[in-house]
């Protein structure tokens, strides 16, 4: 059992709060810089997201008169906690995560749904018109992207024969052929993640030109800073999850590299993890730059016609792979 000091270290420094904060701000910077460079502009310097965060924390925090005070003030914290927790179940420096559990894939998927529900609750509790419409749109989008995302993640579990992310990564590290089977699922999960994080072409709930600020119109100051962090850390955790499930084969088992008597495999695995996450963030930014925003009914159309059918197809070939002579559970 780990000592309380170790637990505090894990929770607060690595891979907990501080690591997620810094990595989240770095990923936001990378996203904005690549977005700008693709449009032939200069883009922000590296400390820009941190400066934005500090500025927001210092601003005045206004609570309108008629809102439901408890929901309005404390929902961001619930969303923040929910989006940070899955990092403990995702393997970062070794095939095994920090606190692996049986069924932690399902727990992670549930926890990652909470920010979307929190956006709906925020929209509902701020009584004015624009957040209300934004909240409705956020809840409506949930009907679209959640099913393909769950289907593709679970088909990875089917291939590995377990609902634990660490077991999936271990299986893919031993049998990398499984990653080829998961390629369609990877593409679909990337698009569903784009919708989950509410980025173009699916940034309908906070479409600036249509409904002013969207769900977060009434927020300012600390609460807005926390919601922006929820976005950034959601990007980090989402891409870590996809890196562990779909690109999990690119990882080394314990004690593969020994240098001067010390095991440096965790360091190499960590570098690989950062590289995988950044590649996924780059692809997400590419999709964001390339497309225009879809309407809500067009987005649901697209989700059910292409993404959900693709998810079913992925599940089908995963089951066929497992049942055939090529696959099989070790």
């Amino acid at each position: 059992m780990t000592s309380p000091l170790d637990v505090a270290l894990y929770l607060l420094i690595f891979p907990g709060f501080l690591f997620l904060l810094l990595f989240g701000l770095f990923c936001e910077w990378l996203d904005r810089k690549v977005y700008a460079r693709m449009q032939n502009r200069v883009g922000p310097p590296i400390f820009q997201p941190f400066a934005d965060l500090v500025k927001l924390l210092g601003k005045e925090d206004i609570i309108p008169r008629n809102v439901d005070r408890v929901l309005f003030q404390y929902t961001p914290l619930i969303a923040f906690a929910a989006v940070m927790t899955p990092i403990f179940n995702i393997p970062i420096w070794s095939v095994k995560a920090l606190f692996p559990l049986q069924g932690d894939l399902l727990i992670t998927l549930y926890l990652l749904t909470i920010p979307t529900l929190a956006l709906f609750v925020i929209g509902w509790s701020s009584v004015s018109l624009y957040p209300l419409v934004g909240g409705f749109r956020a809840a409506t989008m949930l009907f679209g992207f959640e099913v393909p995302f769950i289907l593709t993640c679970l088909s990875a579990g089917v291939i590995a024969g377990s609902w634990s992310i660490s077991d999936i990564t271990a299986h893919l590290a031993l049998q990398p052929v499984g990653m080829l089977v998961l390629v369609p699922g990877f593409i679909i999960a990337l698009l569903a993640l784009e919708a989950k994080l509410e980025r173009t072409p699916f940034d309908i709930p906070h479409a600036e030109t249509e409904i002013v600020g969207g769900t977060l119109t009434e927020y300012s100051g600390k609460k807005l800073a926390v919601m922006h962090l929820v976005d950034d850390i959601g990007m980090v955790v989402g891409s870590s999850l996809l890196a562990a499930i779909f690109l999990g084969g690119f990882i080394f088992l314990d004690s593969s590299f020994v240098l001067y008597g010390t095991d440096i495999t965790p360091w190499i695995n960590f570098i690989l993890y950062v590289a995988k996450s950044l590649i996924i963030v780059f692809v997400l930014t590419l999709v964001r730059t390339l497309f225009a925003r879809l309407r809500i009914d067009q987005m649901l159309d697209f989700s059910w016609k292409y993404l959900a059918i693709g998810g079913l197809f992925q599940m089908f070939i995963a089951v066929m792979y497992v049942g055939s002579s090529v696959g099989g559970i070790p």
Partner: protein, 124 residues
């Protein structure tokens, strides 16, 4: 033929190119010829005829008493001289065009800013 992501080749091309932004003031943009910037008024040529005051559309010219009392031809004395308010002027150069004695010129010069409004006049 409809397909998504038509701009994709252009995105990658721009990722490797230098940005289009001009990093002013480290890099400067060359001004066009006869750019209408700073107003230069010539004391020798001006006779105080007030034509520039009449045609100015932004009311940026004010006639004040000439303390120098420059002598003109035929024994007369110049009574008034113009002062140009740079913050009101919209650089249309109608004064330069209308002046019959060629006393006003608008030359190049950007960044004509200042902190004190009373100092932004020609002549000072």
């Amino acid at each position: 033929m409809r397909k998504p992501g038509v701009l994709l080749p252009l995105l990658f091309e721009h990722l490797l190119k230098k940005p289009f932004t001009l990093l002013y003031p480290q890099e400067q943009w060359p001004l066009p010829r006869d750019y209408r910037g700073m107003i230069v008024w010539s004391n020798e040529a001006c006779t105080g005829c007030r034509i520039c005051f009449t045609v100015c559309s932004a009311k940026a010219i004010e006639m004040v008493e000439d303390l120098e009392k420059k002598p003109l031809e035929k024994g007369r004395v110049r009574k008034q001289i113009p002062i140009f308010y740079l913050d009101r002027c919209m650089r249309c150069a109608q004064c330069e065009e209308s002046c019959p004695f060629d006393a006003i010129h608008l030359t190049g010069g950007v960044g004509l800013v200042g902190y004190i409004r009373q100092k932004m006049r020609v002549p000072g």
